[in-house]
């Protein structure tokens, strides 16, 4: 269930992880898994199409760098990505508030 739910918010979480600094795919998905304490244990390959899509839409940019002898693609948040993150967090907060409001136990009506 968590895996299905995370797909709808994957872009937002990727932007948030990369807000802390540039990262390559493996480090991003490791951070995602660690921050969610293992709840979002996605097939690791699914993160790459999402990163590529975000780069295609201008929310991320990437460079190739050699790290520990391996050529890696390092992703960075763009200003447009930072703005999209702020907007996405606001939208998510509203959504969570609305769901919580529905799920919260009903207050007994006073006669």
């Amino acid at each position: 269930m968590a895996t299905d739910q995370v797909k709808g918010q994957l872009d937002l979480m990727l932007l948030r992880v990369l807000q802390d600094g540039p990262g390559h795919g493996y480090s991003v998905i490791t951070a995602l898994c660690q921050r969610s304490e293992g709840t979002f244990d996605l097939p690791e390959g699914t993160v790459y199409p999402a990163l590529h899509r975000l780069e295609e839409t201008g929310l991320l940019t990437s460079d190739w760098e050699a790290v520990n002898g391996r050529r890696r693609r390092l992703y960075r948040l763009t200003p447009a990505g930072a703005a999209a993150l702020v907007e996405g967090r606001t939208r998510w907060a509203h959504f969570v508030f609305a769901v919580e409001s529905v799920l919260a136990p009903m207050t007994p009506r006073l006669a």
Partner: protein, 270 residues
């Protein structure tokens, strides 16, 4: 359970499958995906080995955690697909911009045509013969509304020349409304990081051809009327051509700027 074949590497096997399955993707995208995937799988295998797995077990774990080749290739292909909304938005934006400018040009031509009609008379705007008359009811209506006309011919002339100017003025108003809508949508879509225009070069080329072509054609009609018909009806062409030519020049200059910014050689599809 690990595969014990000599020289067998789950990571190499996975990368081979990924390469074969990516045959329809852009070559550069495939190269990048393969490089990223290999780096990821080697990192994951290193982490598994650090946790105590053998080399073969570590590679199998890394590949298993990565997911299937099919899912990855499908997700990449879905990311490349252009959603319909992404096509409709720029098409609407470009249509509003070009249509709005065209309408605005027609509005300006209404002004020019009206000025021409004021100084050169209605016959400069419309070319009708003395044998052309309005329907009797229209003629009677016009004669009753405009006391300066004393014949059906004069009434037809005034009526039609008025319509030439009025229809252009209406197009001008519609053009301004289209440009306002374009400006509003552009602000809204820009704020949401959405594209609001089709690629600039083709749009500039099409707009240049349409506006410059229309300008030259209308100027030709006007000059033809000046020469052949002693100026009767020349105002329609000559009144509209300047605004069209101005837009043609604007888009022509943009097109030249586009072409100068292009590389000499178009790179092969990547």
């Amino acid at each position: 359970m690990t595969d014990d074949r000599v020289g067998y590497s789950p990571i190499e096997e996975f990368l081979d499958q990924l390469l074969v399955a990516s045959v329809d993707a852009r070559p550069r995208a495939t190269r990048h995906l393969l490089a990223e995937t290999e780096a990821h799988l080697r990192d994951a295998a290193d982490a598994a080995m650090a946790a105590g797995a053998t080399s073969a077990e570590a590679e199998e774990t890394a590949v298993a955690r990565f997911g299937s080749v099919e899912a990855l290739v499908q997700a990449e292909a879905a990311g490349r697909a252009i959603p319909i909304a992404a096509l409709i938005r720029p098409a609407v934006g470009t249509t509003l911009l070009i249509g709005g400018l065209g309408g605005l040009a027609m509005g300006v031509s209404a002004l020019i045509t009206a000025v021409m009609g004021f100084f050169a008379g209605s016959t400069f705007i419309v070319n009708i013969s003395h044998h052309t008359y309005l329907a009797p009811t229209d003629c009677a209506r016009w004669l009753s509304q405009n006391h300066s006309t004393h014949s059906c011919y004069q009434a037809a002339l005034e009526d039609w020349s008025f319509e030439v100017v009025a229809y252009r003025a209406v197009l001008g108003v519609l053009g301004v409304m289209a440009l306002l809508a374009y400006s509003r949508l552009r602000r809204r879509w820009s704020a949401r990081q959405l594209t609001f225009n089709l690629p600039r070069s083709p749009v500039d080329a099409a707009a240049f051809l349409v506006f410059a072509g229309a300008g030259v054609w209308l100027a030709g009609l006007g000059i033809d009327a000046l020469i052949v018909s002693a100026g009767r009806g020349a105002g329609v062409g000559l009144g509209t051509a300047p605004a069209m030519l101005v837009l043609g020049v604007v888009f022509g200059r943009r097109l030249i700027s586009d072409l100068r910014g292009m590389p000499d050689r178009v790179p092969a599809r990547v």
